[in-house]
């Protein structure tokens, strides 16, 4: 591999672009969520800061940054400070492997619109999303608070259970694309999106990512009605902000992955690839907000029952059927 300065500059530029776009989108996801939830409930939502309330994320940021950085007595200092980063950073890192547009040609170089085109991209995603569980677990454990601990226990059990069905739902995708590389998976869908071949896997994946980013039918780790705020009860200021932003980055990233695995990534007619990709991501984000405005929270035993006794066996059967079908087709 040769290190051309232009290549390095382009890669750094892509990283900067991804960081900027993802963080801005996460901030505006918070705003969009508040707006859409308000509309669902026949309210107007935030509309005071700037035109249509569009500067609300900025106001929220200033508020979070100027708040007291509180640490409870008896909290484990280092773990307490580390946990928010553990929740937010893996979420951003996953985006490194997602292709968000068709390859471009700039300065005579072919630029893949993807930060790192790894041949184990899918496995990297699984690994990083498992690391993000540590943020939940350590945040709750280090806070020295019963609500935080209960929230983190629930979070651990839920995330591990649903990671399983999420991984199993992705196996047929890998079988069809014959690659772990995300750009290959996207290219394999240039003709027909995988959702057509794998509707069941798509539904399982969708439910699992809702559980993975702790969205409302599965928001047991946070459960504001039962556990105050779950694992981030004791956090304030920008540390809470990191948990919060991490959650919204997670929505964007998992939406992007769902689009990549099942909806053909950036493939689509007429419109430019980047528009297609962002449209799909935003559609998933809207779906999550809409679901949040509709469904109540599951009970804990229902959650575990659903994960282990329904989703996981269904995903396994789906793999078997896919394999059988592929053997028959040759």
């Amino acid at each position: 591999m040769n290190y051309d300065p232009i290549d390095i500059a382009l890669t750094l530029g892509k990283i900067a672009l991804v960081f900027f776009v993802i963080l801005t989108m996460a901030a505006y996801m918070v705003f969009a969520e508040r707006k859409v939830l308000a509309w669902v409930q026949d309210r107007k939502g935030p509309n005071r800061v700037g035109p249509f309330g569009l500067l609300q994320p900025l106001a929220d940021l200033i508020k979070l940054l100027t708040k007291e950085d509180f640490r409870p007595i008896g909290a484990d200092k280092w773990l307490f400070y580390l946990a928010p980063a553990m929740a937010a950073i893996p979420a951003i890192m996953i985006f490194a492997v997602i292709p968000f547009g068709a390859p471009l040609t700039l300065f005579g170089h072919t630029v893949t619109l993807q930060v790192a085109d790894l041949n184990v991209g899918l496995l990297l995603f699984m690994a990083l999303s498992s690391i993000a569980v540590y943020g939940v677990a350590l945040g709750g454990w280090a806070s020295n608070s019963k609500y935080a601990l209960l929230g983190s226990i629930r979070g651990l059990a839920q995330l591990i259970s649903y990671e399983l069905s999420m991984g199993l739902a992705l196996v047929p995708v890998v079988m069809l694309a014959r690659s772990f590389r995300l750009s290959d998976i996207v290219n394999a869908q240039s003709g027909c999106w995988f959702i057509v071949y794998q509707p069941l896997a798509f539904v399982i994946f969708l439910i699992s990512i809702a559980a993975e980013c702790k969205r409302i039918p599965f928001d047991l780790p946070e459960a504001e009605g039962e556990l105050v705020a779950g694992f981030h009860t004791e956090y304030s200021g920008m540390r809470f902000g990191l948990f919060f932003v991490g959650e919204y980055i997670n929505i964007i990233v998992l939406g992007g992955l769902a689009a990549t695995f099942f909806l053909g990534g950036w493939h689509g007619p007429w419109l430019p690839p980047f528009v297609w990709f962002s449209g799909k991501v935003l559609a998933f984000a809207f779906l999550f907000i809409w679901v949040r405005g509709t469904l109540p929270r599951l009970r804990y035993d229902q959650l575990m029952h659903f994960g282990w006794k329904i989703l996981t066996p269904l995903a396994l059967i789906n793999i078997l059927v896919t394999g059988w079908w592929m053997v028959l087709r040759g």
Partner: protein
């Protein structure tokens, strides 16, 4: 099949929230647009006058006695002709719960509730309304009522000669 019923229920809920997204919000943007309260809304209390311009209040203390939070106090005095009036009259709006019991208790319809609910003050002492703050120049909700036309007048005329009074009937002349 219970699973099909469950999925149908989920989709029904999603459809309802989807419809609500496009519905006009019920929010009233308070400082800019204000709700028109109903005429009988119970907010700021006033002391009204009778149609002739005199004070209706006779300082009978009934409103003060009816008040569950004891926010009304007054001092009665006697004017010319032995008629009572309030020397001072004070309502502590910091304490008032706007229940309207004082207005119901008032025998002369002097104390009345108005729909003006914007009585916030920076200083809590400014919520202590004295008689001159409470007294208005109108009759409030009962424009024609004058307490003294109905009662409180000594018998000055012979029987049957008072205002609105019929002459007594001689029962012996009522024979068929």
């Amino acid at each position: 099949m219970t699973i099909i019923k469950d999925i149908y229920a989920l989709l029904t809920g999603m459809w309802i929230t989807w419809k609500h997204i496009f519905r006009q919000p019920v929010t009233i943007q308070y400082p800019e647009e204000k709700r028109q309260p109903y005429p009988r809304y119970r907010a700021r209390i006033v002391l009204t006058r009778d149609p002739d311009g005199g004070e209706r209040c006779v300082a009978c203390q009934l409103c003060s006695a009816a008040c569950p939070v004891d926010c009304i106090s007054m001092q009665s005095a006697e004017g010319e002709g032995g008629r009572r009036y309030a020397e001072w009259f004070r309502i502590n709006f910091a304490r008032c719960i706007f229940c309207g019991l004082c207005a119901e208790a008032c025998p002369t319809l002097a104390i009345q509730m108005t729909p003006d609910f914007e009585i916030c003050k920076r200083d809590i002492m400014d919520l202590l309304y004295e008689k001159e703050d409470l007294l208005i120049d109108g009759c409030g909700k009962s424009p024609d009522y004058n307490f003294y036309r109905h009662t409180g007048i000594g018998v000055t005329q012979p029987r049957g000669n008072g205002a609105g009074e019929n002459r007594p009937v001689d029962v012996r002349s009522l024979m068929p």
